[in-house]
């Protein structure tokens, strides 16, 4: 792999190097943004585009499910061509909340691998915990900044286990630091989740066992 600043394109004779693929995936990563606020959609769209993501912005959980093919109308072939690499959703939305959307996505065998990030204007511990428990990668307090969006790349390396139990506790501690407690008692932190980790996913270029840390690997691929 050349380290001369230009990342080599896939060479036909050598086949695809998996780091090559990961880099390409991140550069062309497609984010589905869900927010009922017109102003926020415009802002998040710009933040994502300026961070080199492809963006599809929808105004409701229902539309997000339609786009993802979970409403039963799209055929599996249509779905795969859309290829969403990350979903970022507002928490408070009329109709289906971001939390409900998160549950639907994580409850779907076709979609549960897609990392989901939740945004909210309310920085409340119980809400954060609820989302992380349900499988969200991260919880961003609005207003969303460029630094928040840049972090999204960390969740996007294909084939890596999103939100394993260990990461959950680290992330939870991180987020609790700045959050306020709600009036209701904190839910107890349970170390066992009802869903088993993703060991039964189809073969991916990066197998979880060969990675020391997805974030570190990602940094290695972006040559200066």
């Amino acid at each position: 792999m050349a380290r001369n600043g230009a990342f080599p394109r896939r060479r036909a004779s050598e086949g695809a190097d998996w780091l090559d693929l990961c880099q390409a995936n991140v550069e062309e990563a497609h984010v589905l943004a869900v927010d009922d606020s017109l102003v926020d959609r415009k802002v998040i769209e710009r933040l994502l585009k300026i961070s080199s993501f492809k963006v599809t912005a929808v105004d409701s959980g229902l539309r997000a499910l339609q786009f993802l093919g979970l409403d039963g109308k799209k055929s599996p072939i249509d779905f795969h061509s859309l290829k969403v690499d990350l979903i970022i959703t507002d928490y408070c939305m009329p109709g289906m909340t971001g939390y409900e959307l998160l549950k639907r996505i994580k409850g779907s065998s076709a979609l549960r691998e897609i990392p989901v990030v939740v945004m909210s204007s309310e920085n409340v511990v119980a809400r954060i915990d609820r989302c992380l428990e349900e499988g969200a990668e991260d919880f961003i307090v609005k207003p969303v900044k460029l630094s928040d969006v840049r972090r999204l790349k960390d969740y996007m390396v294909r084939g890596c286990q999103p939100n394993s139990g260990g990461k959950n506790h680290q992330k939870r501690k991180q987020l609790h630091g700045s959050a306020t407690s709600s009036s209701s008692p904190l839910p107890s932190v349970s170390s066992s989740r009802s869903r088993s980790p993703l060991v039964d996913t189809p073969a991916a270029p990066c197998s979880p066992s060969s990675l020391e840390s997805p974030t570190r690997r990602l940094r290695m691929t972006s040559c200066e």
């Binding site: 606020s37 102003v39 926020d40 415009k42 802002v43 710009r46 933040l47 204007s121 207003p143 900044k145």
Partner: protein, 163 residues
């Protein structure tokens, strides 16, 4: 922080230098008086040659949205049986979008407004509705002035300061 805020040094006493100074002063006063906070500056940073009107567009959307929401609130408060949950939902929306553009004063009125919705205090809600309407008018005027200064700076060959 350079005096010229990302611009190459304009000739002393030049129109551009004066415009930049005027802009910076105006922006500082808007921040001091809590009309705008850092979030607005963050949005300015997202503007570039390919998207030169991004902030103007967002602001425009905000005022369209706020007019709609304020209208809804007025209608809801005028009903015989006031649906405070609905008013609160609209205030929550306005709070969110004002926060997204850095409109601090409007956001703060919304926070207060929500408490009054929860308390089902009709008179208090009307006062907040009036206040938030006023704040939107004032902010619109301030932003028009700011955008005009931006246009003048660009026309004089400079670039909009974003620190």
């Amino acid at each position: 922080m350079s005096r010229f805020h990302g611009n190459t040094q304009p000739p002393a006493g030049s129109v551009l230098e004066q415009l930049l100074a005027k802009y910076v002063d105006y922006m500082d006063s808007l921040r001091r008086e809590s009309f705008l906070d850092d979030q607005f500056t963050q949005l300015l940073k997202l503007q570039d040659e390919n998207n030169p009107d991004f902030v103007g567009e967002v602001v425009s959307l905000f005022f369209q949205d706020s007019e709609r929401l304020i209208g809804n609130m007025g209608t809801a408060l005028g009903k015989k049986s006031v649906d405070y949950k609905q008013v609160d939902a609209d205030v929550h929306q306005l709070k969110g979008s004002s926060s997204s553009i850095g409109a601090v004063r409007i956001k703060n009125v919304c926070v207060f407004f929500r408490n009054l919705c929860e308390a089902k205090n009709l008179e208090g809600c009307y006062r907040c509705l009036h206040e938030v309407t006023q704040e939107c008018v004032v902010l619109k005027n301030k932003l028009n002035t700011l955008f005009m200064l931006q246009k003048q700076i660009v026309a004089a060959g400079g670039s909009i300061p974003v620190d």
